[in-house]
Structures are given as structure tokens and as C-alpha cells.
């Protein structure tokens, strides 16, 4: 079973740590690296929408685990996918 990114929106506090910490997100968008939300034309892995973590493009994920490490409530994890 491959390991991949899994979201638990029911746990999410919407802090956005993962969105900013993610190196793929920040490489794609200087706005994100600076701690802001991305512009609409930027491809991101995950984003906080209406206070909840939402997957945008899991295919971009390099599985480094930086987001999981930055999440204070374990709402984003690298796990075996079904």
C-alpha cells in the first residue's frame, strides 16, 4: 500500500500552518511562502477553505511530511492509502 497525504478535515482548526509550511506550495507561490493565501492561478496541494483543510492537487505531493509536522492537531498525515 503506498503512503500518501490524507486529510482529516473534521480535526482541522483552519490555522493554515500546513499550507505555508508545504515546500511545494511555497515553491509554486511566493505569496504562500510569505504567509498569505495563494492567487487563483497557482497550483497548490492543499488549501484552507471556509476554515477547513481541502485537497486541491494531491499529485504534486513529494511526501516530505513537513505539513504533518507543522499541524498542531494531526489533521494532515502521511498514511498508507487504502
Amino acid at each position: 500500500m503506498p503512503i500518501g497525504l490524507k486529510l482529516y478535515p473534521e480535526l482541522c482548526h483552519g490555522c493554515g500552518n500546513c499550507v505555508i509550511a508545504c515546500p511545494v506550495n511555497s515553491a509554486n507561490s511566493p505569496e504562500i511562502a510569505g504567509g498569505k493565501g495563494p492567487t487563483d492561478d497557482v497550483e497548490v496541494i492543499m488549501i484552507v477553505e471556509d476554515g477547513e483543510i481541502t485537497m486541491r492537487n494531491s499529485g504534486l505531493c513529494g511526501k516530505c511530511g513537513t505539513c504533518a509536522e507543522s499541524c498542531p492537531v494531526d489533521a494532515i498525515r502521511l498514511e498508507e492509502l487504502e
Binding site: M1, I3, A21, P23, V24, S26, G62, C64, T66
Partner: protein
Amino acid sequence: METTELIEGKDISVERTGEEERKLEFKDALCASCGLCEKICPVSAIEVTPAGAMVRTEQDVSKIDIDENKCVLCGMCSCICPFEALDLKIGGESIKDMEEYPSLLKSAKISEDTCIYCKACETACPQDAITIARQLPERAKLVSGEIEIDKETCVDCGICEEMCPADAITLEHKFPSSDDPTVSSDIIVDKDKCVYCLVCKKACPVDAIKAVCRICSYGDYDINPEDSEIVGSSYIDDELCVNCGWCQEICPVDAAEVTKPFEGTLTLNQDLCQGCETCVMACPCNVLSFPQSTEPGKKPEKLHKDEKYCIYCGACQKACPVGAIDVERTKINSTPVRSKSWQKAFDSVKTK
């Protein structure tokens, strides 16, 4: 002929019985998730779990997954693994010990004749593979002098006891009684501990201590040079050793010698790097680090490398989520490769 896979904890073994018994063993603790086995496997039977997931998060799975239905037990993975994590045994014997198979030329040695047992390598080794055992000389044999406390003059203030850097002076403190109105029943100097530094003599408020350092007055003629010799031994755990060369580079007397399995280049793209630290955590050789700024306003390079320690295993490249690292292997140091297909396989891990 049947191939079976056995998983014990995170260790895996794939076994095939038949005319000859072949068994591939994987030791999870030694694996650095570099991906070389995955790269060389001719039947794509191996999948390496992302290094970031392994070093950053807790996972129940092994660092690699071997598909026993695909594995042909050829042993290429075992021969290319620079970490002793994979081993193919034919009839109970490791192919790394067989002349017919190429094995990586890698070693780390510490010369007992040269080693001064300073333990720098033990501290620097990123895999804790080195143990330095040393026996220090007796301190009392390296000093020479005399010390005496005049107990009549001594007022039991305890200043010498408090100041002695070698904890050589002890006062037997007590509460005074009417029949013995003193605050200490005795003062003792442990001559095995005393180094004749004369701090007590200088500090004593009533000049009760007579002490002299003979070495200061006459030189160390009465010290036997043999008594100052440090004896010890060094040990490198070959299974844990990754041949990174830290011991060789940090050794102040050039006692350590390391042969590395691969040669190549390591290129970092500072612009692409986002500083996530996954490579730093994944590198088994402590090659990469984040430099601290030396003064306000001074921006150091984002990610620092020192290729002296690199074995070009490619773990960092595999771990980087943004493709900021490029590892190129230009040479594999191995015993002769005798078959064309094996040569081709070895060559395949040389290019990116």
C-alpha cells in the same frame, strides 16, 4: 519452486526453495531510503517508502516493500545497497562474499597504532557506529608534591574544602558541644586526588596549609612517562557504518581511513530549495545543514553541503519534494562485475 515472503516487525525476507535455496533479507533499521535498490531492480519488485514520511512521521510499514511475486532473487539490490540493509544468501552464504558477484568496495578503519583515543570520531559519526574505549592514567601518578595541614592552626572554616578543584579535601563537619566546642572533628587530604595546585594554600585565611608542587619547582623528572600513557581500543560496527568519512576528516592524527562505495557530484539548487529540511533529516551521512547567520542582516546560503562526507547514495534527492537536489554517480567502486547484464544494471544507477 515457491517464493514466500516473511515479514518480521519491519524486517522482510523473501525466500525461494528449489534446486538452490535463495533468501533475500532486508533489515529495516539499516535502510536509509536512498532508493538504489528500487532503481536497480530489473523487475520493479521493490518500492521504497518516501523518506520524508519515514523520518518525519511515525509509520508502521517498512522502508521498502518487496513484491514477492515479482522478485526473482537475483541479488542486484543486495550488491548495490551501500548500507548493508539488503543481503541475498544462496545456500546460506551471502553473495557479498562470493567472487562471482560484484561487491561494493567500502570500508572504514581506524589504525590502533596512530589513534590517540580522543573520541572525536565517536562523537562525529552520524550513525553511532564507532566505539572508543580508553583507560585514563591515574591522576596521582602525573603529579608530584607535598601537602600538609597544620591542624592546630586550622580554624575549620572549610574554605579549602569548598575551593579545592579536585575535591581532595574533606572536613568532618559537626555541631559543637560544650565538651568539644569545635565545628569539625578532622580535616583530611586525599593524596590520590590532590594535584598540588596550591589553591588551598593561597586561600587559607590562617596559613595552616603547607603545600608545594614539585613539578613547578624542579620539573617533571620524577614522573614516569609510561604512567601518562593512555591505552584504549577502537571499534567500528561495519553494519552501522555508512562510510561517510566523518571519522577520517575529523581525526586530528589521521588514524581513520575510509573507502567510499560511489563517486559523483551533489548539486543543490538554492533557488528551488524551500528549506523544509527533509534532505537534512534523510541524509545518513550528515552532509547537509542549515547555516546560522553570523551577524544581523547577513544572509547565509540556504542549504549547506560538504561533499567530503557524501557517499552519493541519493537519499536527499529522493527525499526532496521540490527537486532541488541532484545526485550524480559517476563511478561505482566494486569488485569486478563479471556479467554483462550486471554491468548494465550497475551502469543504470550511475546516470540520473
